[in-house]
């Protein structure tokens, strides 16, 4: 049963991240996702200090605000202070992460948080924190419920805003011309990324969030030219990686998040080499075929 809950948790995170990641990599903003996933740390610590508990809602709010603040700061440094784009990302997230670690040390006695938990989470603990009804009936792990709600929200967001997100990603000028606010959808997308990061942080950690945001969409990007297909493949790759990653971790007796990230990397490598349309090896074969 534990295996089921862990794989389900991984798959839910994979679904949210892989969907959002498709937009991020097409907007060349993969590293913004990386930045957000690290920069939410001070938000989590502050929420923890204010409420004194690990309740989900205050943490979601605290970290969500920090996520949007990160995006805003990156934009601000880049647009108003004209800091080079990549430097703006680098400066912002390391600064916020440093603040987060310092806050943890200041309140070391009171905060039950540490950095490795932020970096690679502990998905293996997910099945331990169960919701038990008054009748004593187990409703399944708390994290799974949180993630299910977040996945639902992300799904609705993409379904409702599909046209707007699509246009602002591929043709911002046209989107603006027909009256879609690119700024609004930019911040909505970033808000969704923050929400996902925060909801997944406790269970899978920043590193798997980044892996899911980048690797499955990049894999799908090498396999298709159709955006809807890309979304589908991306989610499928994410879920398959969760399942295989879990068993890899069991086999090696190591971190599940690390193992899942490894498998997403392998998936990308396979697509990179063997994609029928764009794989390195297939391309060589095609060239030969044409040569004959």
């Amino acid at each position: 049963m534990n295996a089921f809950w862990i794989i389900l948790t991984g798959s839910l995170v994979a679904t949210c991240c892989s969907l959002l990641g498709c937009y991020l990599i097409l907007r060349r903003m993969a590293m913004v996702g990386d930045a957000i996933s690290h920069a939410v740390l001070p938000g989590i610590v502050i929420a923890f200090m204010l409420t004194g508990s690990r309740d989900t809602i205050p943490m979601l709010i605290g970290a969500g605000l920090l996520g949007v603040l990160t995006t805003f700061l990156i934009e601000f440094f880049h647009r108003f202070a004209r800091v080079q784009a990549d430097a703006a990302i680098g400066v912002t997230f390391t600064w916020l992460f440093a603040i987060g670690i310092i806050l943890i040390s200041v309140f070391a006695g009171q905060v039950d948080l540490d950095q490795d938990c932020v970096l690679y989470g502990e998905i293996a603990y997910v099945p331990l924190d169960l919701i038990i009804t008054e009748g004593g009936l187990s409703m399944g792990p708390r994290t799974v419920w949180t993630l299910a709600v977040v996945t639902g929200l992300i799904g609705i967001f993409i379904w409702v805003g599909y046209k707007e997100l699509f246009l602002t990603t591929f043709d911002p000028a046209f989107a603006a011309a027909i009256g879609i606010s690119t700024t609004l959808w930019y911040y909505l997308l970033m808000g969704a990324v923050s929400l996902t990061t925060v909801a997944s942080f406790e269970s899978v950690g920043a590193i798997l969030v980044v892996a899911f945001l980048v690797a499955p969409p990049a894999t799908a990007y090498l396999l298709t030219d159709n955006f809807k297909t890309m979304l589908g493949i991306s989610v499928a790759v994410g879920i398959a990686s969760s399942i295989l990653g879990y068993y890899l971790a069991v086999w090696m007796d190591g971190s599940i998040a690390g193992a899942i990230a490894t498998v997403t990397g392998i998936a990308f490598m396979l697509a990179f080499l063997f994609s029928p349309s764009r794989g390195i090896l297939m391309r060589q074969k095609r060239v030969q075929a044409v040569g004959h």
Partner: protein, 427 residues
């Protein structure tokens, strides 16, 4: 104060090690960071920092010891490999660089975490301390570390000084470097190697996530104070060194404080202040400059307007009401009034019962703007072959910019003309 004196007397060997280590690390990675920043590849440092972990673990698994040199070699190999993979993915597929960086970063780090946890679970007692590579621990620097730090720092600085010209060319004009026969690929490899060196060493002090800041932040801050690369390198090194000392000092006075994050926090504050306050490129300086330009354009437009009205009616000595002015040119009334007031204070205008009159100075300045406008129109029609009805807009902008030297050149070039393309006299 007591703490301050105690700290800066450096009597305690531990203080010496931590401070010196932090300074060496921060300064040398800042110097290397300048080049990666200028090549617009600031974030590769982040990828290398994450990619170091699997190398450390593999080196431990293969050698079975925690010999720092062997671990460093392992770290170096995977760090270097990560950059090669990023380059390979971006050049051989349609994956963009940011995606490739994020991909390599998370996958390499995931492999590292998998190996690390696997080692920890294996019950091998020798493994404890491997996670120093994960979070860094500057406060525990010892003499042995310091020797490695110094060697690497000197190596980095010497290579940068020795290959200064080549690296500069690589950052600013790769195509030219290739044309004159520089081994561009070799130089790229050199810069990659330097970056990996800086990361591999620095990571033990500040940890995986914050290592990126040691490369990027001082360089980004220094960039705001100068246009000269040499000055930028020195500034970045100084900023790095200062935050190294300050971070060590903070963790000395409050022993529960981690050194690495404080170094990063301090250098980030320096950077953010630089973004805001640096003269020339800074945010505030730019706002002020924009406002100054706007006022100047408004003033010159008002003077031009008064001059043109005088020219039209051949009565420069008569005063005009604000309505007369705004009839000819659409300026928001409030702005126009405040501009007129300011011009009066500067002695370009006089006010006679709510009407405005040019002083001699004002007439001179107004005439100059009109002259520049018409000269430019003439220049565009004669030399760029634009139709005479297309040149007005352009001249509206350039009339505020042309310097006296350019004006002289235009006059000579156009052979001291009398009439502009619209047959108005050039004053």
């Amino acid at each position: 104060m007591q703490d301050f004196l105690e700290f800066f007397s450096f009597a305690d060997a531990n203080i010496r090690y931590v401070t010196l280590g932090s300074v060496l690390l921060a300064a040398s990675s800042a110097v290397v960071g300048c080049f990666t920043l200028l090549r617009k590849r600031a974030l590769v440092g982040d990828a290398v920092a994450h990619a170091v972990l699997p190398g450390v673990c593999l080196a431990f698994i293969l050698s079975g010891t925690k010999n720092p040199l062997i671990l460093l070699i392992g770290a170096f190999v995977t760090g270097w490999l990560s950059l090669v993979v990023i380059d390979y993915i971006t050049s051989r597929s349609r994956i963009k660089e940011d995606t490739a960086i994020g991909l390599v970063l998370s996958v390499f780090f995931g492999i590292g975490i998998l190996l690390l946890t696997s080692i920890q679970q294996s019950g091998n007692a020798a493994q404890s301390g491997l996670d120093k590579f994960l979070f860094g621990n500057a406060a525990s620097l010892i003499g042995e570390d310091l020797i490695i730090f110094s060697v690497v720092a000197v190596l980095l600085l010497v290579s940068v000084i020795f290959f200064y010209k080549e690296l500069t060319l690589l950052c600013f004009d790769q195509a030219y470097a290739r044309t004159i026969g520089f081994p561009v690929r070799g130089l790229e490899l050199l810069l990659t190697t330097l970056t990996v060196f800086a990361v591999v060493v620095g990571i033990q002090a500040v940890g995986v996530v914050l290592m990126a800041a040691m490369l990027i932040t001082p360089a980004a801050a220094a960039r705001f104070w100068t246009e000269n690369l040499k000055v930028m390198l020195v500034l970045a090194a100084l900023m790095g060194a200062f935050s190294g000392v300050a971070g060590a000092f903070v963790s000395y006075t409050a022993p529960s404080m981690p050194t690495g994050p404080w170094i990063v926090l301090i250098v980030s504050m320096i950077a953010i202040l630089s973004f805001a306050l640096a003269p020339g490129r800074g945010w505030i300086a730019r706002i002020l400059r924009r406002r100054r330009n706007k006022t100047r354009i408004l003033e010159e437009n008002l003077l031009k307007l008064l001059y043109q009205l005088g020219e039209l009616r051949q009565d420069y000595g008569n005063a005009r009401s604000i309505e007369e002015l705004l009839e000819r040119r659409n300026i928001p009334k409030k702005e126009a009034l405040s501009g007129l007031q300011k011009l009066k204070r500067q002695g370009y205008l006089k006010k006679e019962d709510k009407r405005w009159l040019l002083t001699t100075e004002g007439e001179k300045r107004g005439r100059r703007v009109v002259r520049l406008h018409r000269l430019w129109e003439l220049y565009l029609t004669q030399y760029v072959n634009l139709a005479s009805d297309h040149v007005h807009e352009d001249a509206e902008t350039i009339e505020h910019i042309i310097t006296p030297e350019l004006e002289q050149k235009l006059l000579e070039e156009l052979n001291y003309p009398d009439l502009d393309p619209h047959h108005a006299r050039i004053p």
